[in-house]
Amino acid sequence: MQQLNSYRTGPDESGRFGLYGGRFVAETLMPLVLQVQQAYEDAKADPSFQAEIDYYAKHYVGRPSPLYFAKRMTEHLGGAKVYFKRDELNHTGSHKINNVMGQILLARRMGKTRIIAETGAGQHGVATATACALFDMPCKVYMGSVDVARQSPNVFRMKLLGAEVEAVESGSKTLKDALNEAMRDWVANVEDTFYIIGTVAGPHPYPAMVRDFQSVIGKETKEQMMEAEGRLPDTLVACIGGGSNAMGLFHPFLDDASVNIIGVEAAGKGIETGEHAASLTGGRPGVLHGNRMYLIQDDDGQVVEPYSISAGLDYPGIGPEHSWLKDTGRVTYASATDMDAIEAFQLCCKMEGIIPALEPSHALAHVMRIAPELPKDHIIVMNLCGRGDKDVTTIANLLGVKL
């Protein structure tokens, strides 16, 4: 592993994390992308912007989220102490709202009057629809028609919140196509529209901006762990689709060399079957959606439709900073299959009385693999980034239960 003085200085001026990142967008969007970058730089330098974010985080989102010692899970696994960072307790039920509040406040500063977003599982769509209701802004959410079908409760939630949900029928009709369609909308409506991207990907400054808004997860974890144990955790574990919840937990710890950091990708039916969403394990560097990242693609550079039981991890790419962290070796990336995740999902329900989303169930599956082998004084923090109400139908179908 290459040793750097700091892993927290990226991206550079052109939006690169090493080879990854950048601004691979059509010229129509480029002036706007530069405006967003400038507006974000200005906002960061303005204490009132952070104060506004903090206000809504505390009074609307419900932060800080608890750092919870999962006692029964720990005893059951018989090794390391397992803590959950409870971001599923946020308003709207996942970490997505952290980023949405930051971006919508920026959109307002820029004088934009219309919001668009893409969504896979629907969590980012719901968070965006929520914030748009709060600030009385029209909102259009693009969602692949396949995901509309498998996440119908979230579709209805978005509609209740006043958003227009557009079922995307192009391409493979999932998250990547929702992103394509949102970018097409953006190109046609650059004057008044702000695109709230849901993950740490897209053209610079999005990967860095989304990471910054999500880093509240890691910052809180650090403080809460000092309070609970008087020291840093030994291992961090988070699931990865595009990688926003993981980046939020990891980033504040990147320069703490004693902390082992693990991202868990969705292996679907198994990497060897080709039906997976593990971009880092099964992909190679490519350019899509405005940035270079690890990408699942065929020999000819065509994007291959990923597969995972979890609609939120079902993305062929992964954020550029994760791509870079993999190459540097600072973060280790593992994977968990659908079946691993379902087993973890059920165990979490029974052991802790928490119904987790299928996404963090992948992270929990990896915790279940490593915790038994680790000593009892080893501390693991897992990001429980979403709650599983939205997945109840999927699980019921899988278990052969009729609701």
Binding site: E27, T28, P31, G171, V187, A188, V287, L295, V303
Partner: protein, 277 residues
């Protein structure tokens, strides 16, 4: 301009158009749509149908700047086994038959990046390609392909758009060669109707910054529009409307009906009559 490759066929064609006193017709088709054989038949017939410059789209699964017609064309081509190698083979066949018509490859970066930039440029030159238009490579990413292409002697044709203001235009034009492609609308290909008056204004604005020929595209559908826009600039680009003719001549399984290529070429001939009338 940092590096200016010899614009060769492109410059010669625009000089000839000027001598004829008319605007040009630039046609776009997606390589391998609806399949290799029919796609090649269409491609090879374009100059005789009246196309002055030919653009071949390199199909991509995720064409973010394109509307439904070109998206579907790309998927049809990929479904029928189109690859970068086959696209370059089509270009080679075109060049063998038509030594003088400028040929431009248009598309997105990832298939080129995956093929390998150096290898791609070598093979594109061998195939007789005159220029490249790569939608998702703005000047901010010039080091990726633009500079290597110019150094290898391949024109890099940049898109300018309604959002490219006077402050940004010099940056966009800096490493552009061959011609400038003005995107006439805010939006994706084939979705909005073009308006001639704003186009005239935009072309005049771009002319203040460059001597390169200016072509205009996105939203031209009829021979009348082709004539009007080709005169407002140096040439008009038509893509989606041609591709819709391909689609209209497929059976319900997506296979070309007899006479598919002829029908598409007849449509191009009507557009060509438009710019010549």
């Amino acid at each position: 301009m940092a590096i200016a490759p010899d614009s060769g066929r492109i410059a010669a064609r625009f000089a000839a158009l000027k001598a004829e006193g008319r605007g040009g017709l630039v046609t776009y088709i997606t390589a391998g749509d609806p399949n290799y054989e029919t796609g090649l038949e269409i491609l090879l017939g374009l100059p005789d149908a009246g196309a002055d410059i030919v653009e071949i789209g390199m199909p991509f699964t995720d064409p973010m700047a394109d509307g439904p017609a070109i998206q579907a064309a790309g998927l049809r081509a990929l479904h029928n086994g189109q690859t970068m190698k086959k696209t370059l083979a089509m270009a080679t066949a075109f060049r063998a038959k038509h030594p003088e018509t400028p040929l431009v490859l248009m598309g997105y970066y990832n298939p080129i990046y995956s093929y390998g930039v150096d290898r791609f440029l070598q093979d594109a030159i061998a195939a007789g390609i005159d220029g490249l238009i790569v939608v998702d490579l703005p000047p901010e990413e010039d080091a990726e392909l633009c500079i290597p292409a110019l150094q290898a002697g391949v024109n890099f044709i940049r898109l300018a758009t309604p959002t490219t203001d006077d402050k940004r235009l010099p940056k966009v034009l800096q490493n552009t060669s061959g011609f400038v492609y003005y995107v006439s609308i805010l939006g994706i290909t084939g979705t909005k109707e073009i308006q001639a008056d704003p186009v005239r204004g935009a072309v005049a604005r771009i002319r203040r910054h460059t001597d390169l020929p200016i072509v205009v595209g996105f939203g031209i559908r009829t021979p009348d529009q082709a004539r009007e826009i080709s005169r407002a600039a140096d040439a008009a680009v038509i893509g989606s409307a041609i591709i819709e003719q391909v689609k209209a001549n497929l059976d319900d399984k997506g296979a070309p009906l007899p006479g598919c290529a002829r029908a598409v070429l007849d449509y191009v001939a009507a557009l060509a009559d438009g710019v010549r009338s």
